[in-house]
């Protein structure tokens, strides 16, 4: 009998435990989610079509007011919110899905850094959110014949990137909620998202909020992402003009991402003390 008192590396020649193993791991989450979404492709089509129709209806409210600028104002809000909220929810939904399937223990006992797992789930989240938002945007361009010739696409891309990362950080933090409570975790994340939707000025300027609600908009990265995105697409604002909002968004990135991982790590440890990873038994 072979003695297996050697190191893990000498023991197992077929597995890649180093950085390459982590890369395989992250790819595994993208592959897995892609396979799952492919299996439910009919449902994805329905959800995306619903979101597109919803955005068209919101745009039509602007058209009914006879204000073409308002049409684009509302569409930008709707599409950007669809993108950011999808990013936020995706990590949470992935954990909730695993908990319902009972595979959370399989994933959490794998020799993979939690960072890699969350990175893989986040990468898929970005890909899926981008796909969904591009489909909605394409539908808007066709339906409303929107002219974006005056838009500053470079500024818009920078805002999109900075906004995405800050939302991902919050999404990672909320990802631990379904682990702590299978029944209520995902709902709690949705409530938090609804509050962001209320205070961030997605469909209206912050100024119309009651005075007591307005301070909450300051702590939502969506406020700055929406404001600077509108400036870039409606007014063609360059990076110099929106640098204030971009800097705030970058600050959110620096704070929310490490905080997201830290919150997740604390939640995971608590779940392991309390036995929350198991489904039964």
């Amino acid at each position: 009998m072979r003695q297996n008192s050697g190191t893990a590396d000498t023991f197992d020649k077929t597995t890649h435990r180093g950085p390459l193993g982590e890369v395989w791991g992250a790819v595994g989450f993208v592959e897995r989610n892609f396979a799952l979404y492919k299996r439910y492709s009919g449902w994805i089509v329905v959800v995306t079509a619903y979101a597109a129709v919803n955005t068209i209806i919101i745009g039509l409210i602007g058209r009914a007011a006879g204000d073409e600028r308002l049409v684009l104002y509302l569409i930008i809000g709707s599409v950007l919110w669809a993108f950011l909220s999808q990013l936020f929810q995706e990590v949470c939904e992935s954990m909730a899905w695993e908990h319902w399937e009972g595979t959370l223990e399989v994933t959490f006992s794998a020799p993979l850094k939690r960072f890699t797992q969350l990175l893989g789930v986040s990468a898929f989240s970005i890909l899926y959110s981008l796909f969904k938002s591009l489909v909605i945007m394409a539908a808007m361009l066709l339906f409303f014949r929107i002219d974006l010739s005056g838009a500053n696409l470079l500024s818009a891309s920078v805002v999109l990137l900075a906004g995405s990362v800050s939302f991902l950080g919050m999404g990672i933090a909320s990802g631990v909620l379904p682990i702590l409570s299978r029944e209520r975790g995902f709902s709690a994340a949705r409530i938090f998202l609804a509050l962001l939707l209320l205070v961030s000025g997605v469909y209206y300027p912050i100024a119309v909020l009651p005075a007591w609600l307005r301070p909450f908009s300051v702590v939502s990265p969506a406020t700055y992402a929406l404001r600077s995105m509108r400036a870039a697409l409606l007014d063609g604002a360059g990076l110099a003009e929106i640098k204030g909002d971009v800097l705030i968004l970058l600050t959110f990135c620096v704070v929310t991402v490490p905080l997201g991982f830290a919150v997740f790590a604390v939640g995971e440890r608590w779940a392991k003390w309390k036995g929350k990873l198991k489904v039964d038994g």
Partner: protein, 318 residues
């Protein structure tokens, strides 16, 4: 031979049971077969697993929350708990197949979860090859793999997709993984035509075979099997058991297996622990345990041993 928790055995009862500490080479007669098992000398260096004084308590989940009303929300509210594991002490040598037998709710799965870093103990320590499961869970996870009694999968994905996902998690390249799981599935009699079927369309036994393949394809140093053969037909059970022996003999894998199947425990385990109400009440080779039960009263079986230490009839339980 170790006997715990008030089950004091006199010299006559222990009979000729051989202490593994006294004699590293143990002759054990199991099911009429003579097997000479080279039990390694128990030293600190070659321990695959050491659990010392492990205690795990869980809050009692009351189905009727309203009965306690708002008192539950009070931070100092004293919640009712029960001990799933009570002062569990286990040492498993590298390369050993160590069985844990016990009834439902006796703490087997909880113990496996603690070893696999899914659950932290409230008291005591668990080390896998000298690495603490609470302090260094990442390092421990690199050395283990686990099969649970309820094989969990993404049910809408195929067996192949689930295996590929697991291979990625364990750092296996797709080519190595495919080669490995094909070999294992063939050996344990899984119909290859079903490998692309969604898991939800597979029978319980077939799912269990996929779960076993999933755990075995990464060649872990410590394999944790929580009732791995539950739901398998006798032939598949035998195939899995043979594969476990192959892993131990060729790869040097240490195996901790929980089971309800006494025959299985006798057939494949070097040593067996009996767990009851979260406590290890007896531990030894099958031959040693049977020897205790012999005690001059008819033909002993492992079922009788179980009864002796737990006061529970195995037949009633089954």
């Amino acid at each position: 031979m170790i006997v715990r928790d008030g089950y004091e055995l006199d010299e006559q009862e222990t009979g000729s049971a051989i202490s593994s500490e006294e004699s590293p080479d143990v002759d054990a007669t199991v099911n009429g077969r003579d097997e000479r098992r080279n039990v390694e000398t128990k030293t600190m260096d070659n321990l695959a697993l050491r659990a010392s004084g492990v205690v795990k308590r869980f809050e009692i989940q009351d189905g009727n929350r309203n009965r306690k009303g708002l008192r539950r929300l009070w931070p100092f509210y004293k919640r009712e708990t029960f001990e799933a594991l009570s002062d569990v002490n286990v040492e498993v040598r590298a390369g050993e197949i160590y069985g844990i037998i016990g009834m439902n709710g006796s703490g087997k799965s909880t113990f496996i979860r603690v070893i696999s870093t899914l659950l932290f103990p409230d008291e005591g320590t668990v080390e896998v090859f000298g690495v603490d499961v609470v302090k260094n869970p990442d390092e421990v996870r690199r050395m283990i793999n686990r099969v649970s009694v309820d094989a969990a999968f993404f049910r809408s994905l195929s067996a192949k997709e689930n295996l590929r996902y697991s291979a990625r998690l364990h750092g296996l390249s797709p080519r190595d993984a495919r080669k490995r799981y094909k070999e294992i599935l063939t050996r344990i009699g899984f119909d290859h035509n079903r490998v692309s079927d969604q898991v939800k369309s597979l029978s319980r036994g077939m799912k269990q075979k996929v779960a076993v393949s999933r755990a075995l394809m990464s060649t872990p140093r410590l394999l944790l099997l929580d009732e791995p053969t539950t739901g398998l037909d006798p032939r598949s059970k035998r195939d899995v058991q043979q594969f476990l022996h192959k892993m131990r003999d060729e790869e040097g894998t240490t195996i901790v297996i929980t089971t309800h199947d006494m025959e299985e425990a006798e057939r494949i385990c070097d040593r067996i622990a009996i767990i009851h109400d979260g406590r290890i009440v007896a531990e030894g080779t099958a031959a040693e345990l049977i020897e205790i039960a012999r005690n001059g009263r008819g033909e002993p079986t492992l079922e009788k041993v179980f009864f002796k230490f737990t006061g529970e009839e195995w037949d009633e339980y089954e």
